[in-house]
């Protein structure tokens, strides 16, 4: 089976995000970038499926040349091939635009796909749109926020967490699956993997190669403003005897925080 994993480069969640208020973008300088953690589950799952049932794992990322490093990481983890779908646009936050690029690439260059794996969302933009949109554009079944996946021949079952329950979904392949934390425990790259990855090329596909025109992928979304969240207020400490403190706490939750 040909498994494709779609991955994105994101700022490390531990880095301090600074905002350029003039351009309404995040300042990239001084940030460290990593593979989106949800995508890491997707890559790991693809590798496990290949190890169990054979096939090939191909990783795709839409982004600038800077995204090469996360593709290399996927190769070092054990992916067979990686391609960069080159997009020089800064973060557009436009899920549909990305989905169009991905769907087109799959149709034009990788139409032999058997399974498409995504992270359930990318940290930072957190839209959780792209997997569903790609599935819709390609007319494929989709299961999102998956915590367990089994593939048998041309059929699969996936478990997903829903409010207060676990949903089990059967589907036929090809399909779109988006990975949730808990699906697996991603492996670390080994040195051997890193050395193998070093020797592998990462071919670049441009929008021209994909027959995509500017107007096809013009963002439909305009970012009006980005702002840092307000600093967290210091916690309140109630210094009383336990009985009185509890009473005060309930009062506070009821009247001020208005959560009960």
């Amino acid at each position: 089976m040909n498994i494709f994993v779609l991955v994105k480069r994101i700022p490390d969640t531990e880095s301090k995000i600074r905002i350029n208020h003039e351009t309404g973008t995040i300042v990239e300088e001084g940030l460290t970038f990593v593979l989106n953690p949800y995508d890491e589950y997707a890559v790991e799952e693809a590798l496990r499926l290949r190890e169990a049932g054979g096939g090939k794992v191909t990783v795709l990322s839409v982004g600038t040349e800077e995204s090469r490093i996360i593709l290399k990481k996927c190769l070092a983890m054990g992916a067979d091939e990686a391609f960069l779908l080159k997009d020089n646009a800064p973060e557009t936050y436009d899920g549909l635009r990305l989905a169009k690029i991905i769907a087109r690439a799959l149709e034009k260059k990788f139409s032999d796909y058997g399974l498409l794996l995504f992270g359930k969302q990318s940290m930072g933009t957190d839209n959780a749109q792209v997997p569903s949109m790609v599935a819709e554009l390609l007319g494929l079944p989709q299961v999102n926020v998956v915590t367990k996946l089994e593939i048998e021949g041309t059929k699969g079952t996936a478990h997903r967490e829903i409010e207060g329950a676990l949903e089990k979904v059967s589907f036929s392949l090809p399909a779109v699956i988006s990975a949730q934390k808990g699906l697996n425990e991603p492996r670390y790259e080994t040195l051997k993997g890193i050395m193998t990855a070093k020797k592998k090329e990462i071919p670049i596909l441009s929008f021209e190669d994909l027959d995509l025109k500017e107007e096809d992928i013009a963002p439909l979304l305009e970012v009006a403003k980005i702002e840092s969240p307000p600093p967290r207020q210091a916690g309140k400490i109630i210094e009383e005897e336990p009985e009185k403190a509890a009473r005060k706490m309930v009062e506070f939750l009821h009247n001020e925080a208005k959560v009960i």
Partner: protein
Amino acid sequence: MNFELTEDQKLLKAMVRDFAQKEIEPNVKILEDTHEFPREFLDKLGKLGILGMTIPSEYGGTKTDYISLILALEEIARASPSLAVIVSVHCSLFCYSIMKFGNKAQKKKYLPKAAKGEMLGAFSLTEPGAGSDAKNLKTKSIREGNFYILNGTKSWVSTGSEADASIIFASTEIKPGVKKLNAFIVEKNFPGLLASKIEEKMGLHSSLTAEYVLEDCQVPAENLLGEEGKGAAVAFHCLDGSRIGIAAQAVGLADKAIEEGVKYAQQREAFGRKISEFQAIQFMIADMSTQRDAARLLTYKAADLIDKGKPYAKESSMAKLFASEAANKIAYQALQIHGGYGYSKEFLIEQLYRDARAFSIYEGTSEIQRLVISRYLLEEC
């Protein structure tokens, strides 16, 4: 001139950091408090290929350039300076010395296991009466038939009690009255080798440091490493390279100390503001990060010379001297930022401060580094 790491160096650094943060860091305090040898993490590092970084693939290793080894040590030290010294001794002293000076049979016998961490190595030069003056060893080796018989005491053997094999140095009389050194590969169960007394150290608690007592220890003659009487060359050549690893260990510790100091300064309030708003604290932070960057550059420079096949002994000493002293200053200042809490075991900086103290002592004291460096200049001019 290019100050950028290559793609695979970046990848390796990120991988080791990720591993160290997720797997090692959460366990460091308990390992240090209980003086427990980090066996579990060494096994894992072995599986990742980190323990084979000085061994080529024909002997089952994962040899990389030296910068990559340095990056790995730096990242391990950020999480656990103890683990970093264990890995450094194993890779840059034990494995490297066999790779460089061993014959084919020795390489075949020891390196494939060492590369995977199935065999852990130590390096034993120091004696109770000879540290800096390392050529002046009292431990004797005498050839008897197919064996060398070793007698004496070796001290301060990092990993000693846990090692499967060690490079042990002993003196030999090549001519009556002419003493030279021999290097041997000594397996832990060779008769007559006793690893005893674990040193009670100030820091680096999970790196166990033992004393070796050699009582008519029988070492097969085929385990002589390098030529008879050429042991000093083995020791000094290997230490020239591994000092860069100690420099990297210092840089990693310094980096962590700064992180801790900055974090604390941004939380702690005194006189109605965050202490990071005081210029006194800001200047400490500026000095610490400048020192760390300078140390890192010297360290990478020395490693780069190895990779380029150029002489590196002077630069390696400079990196080790500067980085180990910088790490001590940085740990001091980062502790100072913590005020009274820095003196408490509840904060990591207390451990880092103690751990750093060994750096300017082992693998050549700061004074010995200065001797080495100045000698180059005096001879060059």
